[in-house]
Amino acid sequence: METVMAFVVGGLYAAAVYMMLRRSIVKLVIGLVLLGNAANLLIFTAGGLTRGAPPLIAEGALLPDGAVADPLTQALILTAIVIGFGVLAFAVVLIHRAYEVVQAVNMDKMKDTDT
């Protein structure tokens, strides 16, 4: 399954990069969302995929029953998802505000500070 996941990650990266190279700031935001998903999946897959063994410990036990999925990558991704959302929310409002000021979503027209 890791092999398939590698291609999923590649596909998401490709879509993200293409969108980030566009002039429209809206497409840039969509690209960023895709990029976030791609990066999270990359870390998740790199840590190894395990089916049906979440990193939980039964009540009263000291250790999980048998091998479990890597908890560290999950913790990292959890942080990344939340931070990513914070940044996205900020970016989206910022873009909207910028649009109100310069009346453009084309980044080429946002380039000059004089407008």
């Binding site: 399954m1 890791e2 092999t3 398939v4 996941m5 590698a6 291609f7 999923v8 990650v9 596909g11 998401l12 990266y13 490709a14 993200a16 990069v17 293409y18 980030m20 190279l21 566009r22 429209s24 809206v26 497409k27 969509i30 969302v33 895709l34 998903n37 999946l41 998740f44 897959t45 790199a46 395990t50 089916r51 990193p55 939980l56 410990i57 000291l62 250790l63 479990v68 999925a69 908890p71 999950q74 991704i77 942080t79 998802i81 939340v82 931070i83 959302f85 914070g86 940044v87 900020f90 989206v92 409002v93 910022l94 873009i95 909207h96 649009y99 109100e100 084309n106 980044m107 380039k111």
Partner: protein
Amino acid sequence: MLSAVLAGFVVAACAPWLAARLGARTGWVLAVLPLALTLYFASFLPRIAAGESMLFQYAWIPGLDIRLGFLLDGLSLLFALLISGIGTLIVIYAGGYLAGQRDLGRFYLFLLSFMASMLGLVLSDNLITLFVFWELTSITSFLLIGFNHEDKTARASALQGLFVTVGGGLALLAGFVLLAQAGGSYDLSMLLSQGEAVRGDALYLPLLLLLLLGAFTKSAQAPFHFWLPNAMAAPTPVSAYLHSATMVKAGVYLLARLQPVVGGTMEWFWLVSLTGALTLLVGGVLALRATGMKRVLAYSTVMALGTLTLLAGIGTPAAATALVTFLLAHSLYKGALFLCAGIIDHEAGVRDLREMGGLRRAMPWTATASIIAALSLAGVMPLFGFIAKEALFEAAVQAPELGTLLTVVAAVGAMFAVAVAGLVAVRPWFGVQATTPRTPHEAPPALLLGPLLLAALGLLFGLWPGLAEHGLLAAAASAVHGAEVVPALALWHGFNLPLLLSVAGLLLGLLLYVQWARVQALLQRLPLERYGAERAYEALMTWMVDVAAWQTRLLQSGYLRRYIFITLATLLLVSGYALATRYPVWPALDISDLRFHELVIALVIVLAGLAAVKARDRLAAVAALGAAGFGVALLYVIFSAPDVGITQVLVETLTVILLVLVLFRLPGYVNTSRGVIHVRDALMGVAVGGLMTWLLLEARNVKLFPSISGYFIEQSVPGGHGHNIVNVILVDFRALDTLGEIFVLGLAAVGVYAMLKLRAEDRR
């Protein structure tokens, strides 16, 4: 020894304060320091003359193997005495020359710092220390050339000198590093015995070229000779000190110092001696072409530096003798001549040779000093310059290769020197009294002391060569050659080839002097202003600025997509190269554990991603984005990450809502790019995506360090008292991370709120 070198810097720092209090007497007071240093170094003379060499070491940066070591042998002592001795005279002279200038304190600050740096340069045992002092002399020289900083030419000349010498200094540093690798040490005292190993090293040629580049730029060898005459924008004491007697000889010092280590090969001989010969000829021709007295002297200094380099290239015992003899003779007479030129400028107000004449009646003492020094320059018996010239001829005749060519060059050089001597010491003093801007009068004692003493020393050493030879020159020549040398300097060697050449040079030189006006006019026609080395320098500088502007336009375009493109291209190149070279085998594509529903989800994610790209309007794009996000969440859940899955679902929902709410207040899509651009960006996307796939496939088989996950699993209950390991990591083991995350979210929330509120107030 350490305090002797550093004293200059300390006194330099006090100089402005002293100058403000002492006024015109500053020169006499400050001269005590170089005088004391001269006496201190002179106290080593008996031991050095007896063949000893001394090493003083102080730990500086022990971790990097950099010691503050000072090596005192014949060569460094000769230089140290010249620097401190001539330094004493210059400090006194400058006091008279710049009397009444408000910047006198600043001048002494630079001059004494320079003196200390130069002393450090010639005494350093460690290559890195030597380099530091080397650059310090470049910087102080820059400050001194640009001393009259309100003058545009002075500023340009100062920059030019700095660029040329510091550019060479960079090459020198690289050369030092290679030299230390080849010779196994940064200490000259160690390297001097490692000549065999260095010359046999695979990197010998590159390191030689780098070292020579450093030495040649510093010593104004052709084609880098142009900065030296321009450096004459400095006040005359500086020209006399830095740009004839000491700093420009730093390159020659380096050649002489390293000759036992890197010299003696065919590469060395050809490169060094031919560069020297070329410089000699170029300097001679340009000296006769110029009309300003200081410029003529500057070009004749270029000529002398060429001679010294030529001698360093030959590398025989006779050449080593000639090198140190010529060096001493040149410092004495050229220093004196420059100081006399300064006096004429100062007391009569003329600089152009064509406007001078008959001044000897007004300033007899200056004329005397100048004429004695010029006779030494011309190489007339019985002055020290004659002995130096004889030694030069003898070394050229005995050269292992190219003997005839080098002899001819040396003889032509002697001829030029005679003509220059006539120009600077006959023209101003004899003939019809010229009218000068100021009524000429004799200079005060502070100005006269230097030239008279230097000229007298030239005469003394000429009449009694044994004094200089047994005192120091024999030891210096031995240090240059790397083995004992017995010079046997004398005024009279009998009738031989060198004497014949001397006489011929003298006669031809006189002829050249008599015909100077015609020769000068003829040489003036050379189109050097249009095709000279200086034009090449200027073209290079312009080109550098153009390249900087071009690459700034290219890299700093102001278009975000170009920045992203360049960043990604770099990523592709660097990571792709690293992957391809370290893991050349394509990883096996193992799909044995594939489940159908997982494959479907994977396909949905990829297709949703593509749909988000291809979507014609924003609603479709956001919907596709949501589909991809929920697909990812499902994968998290399937592969044992329920917490991550839940978070992803929540965040994805919020993201879609946010995008729908905000983005729809913005105008719709407009296609602004051409088809080619779309294809190019798509190719970039596929390339980056492919790279990430490749990276991930390889990463699965690479484990550089053992995972720390095991620790978290073991310590979750006993250490963190929690049964959900992921939660324990977030709130316990990596709690600070989570705290940081909360701060980021808080800041983002504040920002969002502020922007929304701002808009509301705008509307009101």
